[in-house]
Symmetry: C2
Subunit: 285 residues, 2 copies
């Protein structure tokens, strides 16, 4: 069971990475081969950075960032280290997303195209702002040591859900953006005659969608959750480093709720409290 | 706690219904006021049924269909009745989705526009096919009485996840479709000058997105899950009717995992098994 769970996790992770990696590659090939390449000149070649940076940062890196806690080989690392990696990857994705916005606005301004008229731009800007708020709130509440456990417990399910919702909305926004760009750029032959570039970018849209579906599956499986912190802090008082922890943790991978067996001698009331606390703090989504 | 949980659930449900209802209304106002109305003539007025049927059926009714198990006042109803309602609403949504496809294809054929060239059409057709498969599989495995419990336990997390993934993909596809239609239809003034219709449909896109976000929040909260069936079948052997069940169920709304207290005198091994089975059968997502 433990090994089966581990193999299943690995297979899905590899599949997700493959779809994510292919999405990035296809986006780069698209702008280089079909859209004239990349430059930072205020023109359409600067705009080409927009899809490249969004798919690389806001899709692929964000997808990895929300998955890091679930990598079994990181369970021997401290929670603080993993939080730092999670926050760091999300910060990189945020920076790339901001630069991608600059490239789009620069292009519009140079070409005298109005900014912020399309649904893609409205939802896209909204999701970037939400992402920044999520990053800031996550940093203040979960990474800095000042927030009381009760506040963390209260905000954790919201943080997790908003993270997945933002990720899904980014993917929807990418699909809108690709649709827009094909309709703007493909004339003679038009998109409606389905030229090779149309097929190519439609496939890219599918890859991005499947990547999103795989990442969301991985991050919402209760059995693939990182084991609770208390076990770790007791076993490993040395904080931020990443050392082998001897014990049942790695072996128990794939087991549903090992904390249940630890509650063996407790009263029913205590059990309910723990279950409540657990579900609040470690809500899957 | 129980009452707080119930009020929170109700508030979010009312908010979701409001956003869903407004989405349907705005879609109807859009096609009637800005797009010339509705007809079944093979022309653009027939096409107008496409967004109306999709937003009404594939978004709003599907959103309600995936939420029905979580309505506390239905917990006194048999699981079979609720499954039938769940399947029935999804079947209605599927029929409306199919008719919406017919209206789009009819329009394209009349106007000599190529079918199935856009990303919207590719992902849209794929998600309709997935929805049909999900409906068929759900009917065979969960509604008909023939599937063994082990198969149901195995497929339940996949059924739940695919349901939410399909729902999210439908919303992404709606946003692509609205983007396409605005770019096709708005000339003089163009979409890029942000005429009233552009603002109107952008707002519609936001409403659909928020509706999706609220529904997904509601259906993924562990504390709002329908209590397990065994309690019900014991208390209520009369099957498909919907009668008041005296007991702690309604009062316990909002409590995390009441089955925990029932396991008081069991062995640790038994507890692990139940937890495993529970998590497999009742996976939130």
């Amino acid at each position: 069971m433990a090994m089966d769970g581990y193999k299943g996790f690995l297979a899905l992770l590899v599949a997700a990475l493959l779809f994510g990696f292919l999405s990035v590659i296809l986006t780069i090939v698209w702008v280089l081969h079909y859209r004239g390449g990349l430059a930072w000149d205020g023109g359409s070649l600067e705009f080409n950075w927009h899809p490249v940076l969004v798919v690389t940062g806001f899709v692929f890196i964000q997808g990895i960032a929300i998955t890091v806690y679930r990598l079994p080989w990181t369970w021997k690392c401290s929670k603080f280290l993993m939080k730092s990696i999670h926050a760091g990857l999300n910060a990189v994705a945020a920076i790339l997303a901001i630069v991608s916005l600059v490239s789009a606005f620069d292009f519009h301004n140079t070409m005298n195209i109005r900014n912020m008229y399309s649904m893609h731009s409205w939802i896209g800007l909204a999701v970037v702002i939400l992402y920044m708020l999520q990053l800031l709130l996550g940093f203040l509440v979960f990474l800095l040591p000042f927030a009381p456990p009760s506040l963390r417990a209260l905000l954790m399910p919201i943080h997790v859900y908003c993270g997945i919702f933002i990720f899904g909305t980014v993917i929807a926004t990418v699909l809108m953006g690709l649709t827009e760009k094909l309709l703007f750029s493909l004339n003679n032959p038009a998109y409606s005659s389905l030229p090779p570039e149309g097929v190519f970018v439609n496939v890219l849209g599918f890859l991005v969608l499947v990547f999103g579906g795989l990442i969301c599956w991985i991050v919402t499986r209760p059995q693939w959750k990182r084991p609770k912190e208390p076990d770790l802090t007791i076993l490993q008082p040395n904080g931020g480093t990443c050392e082998r922890v001897e014990g049942s943790m790695a072996i128990n991978f794939g087991e549903m709720d090992k904390s249940n067996s630890e509650l063996n001698d407790e009263t029913a009331a205590r059990k309910r409290n723990v279950a409540l606390e657990e579900a609040t703090q470690r809500s899957t989504m």
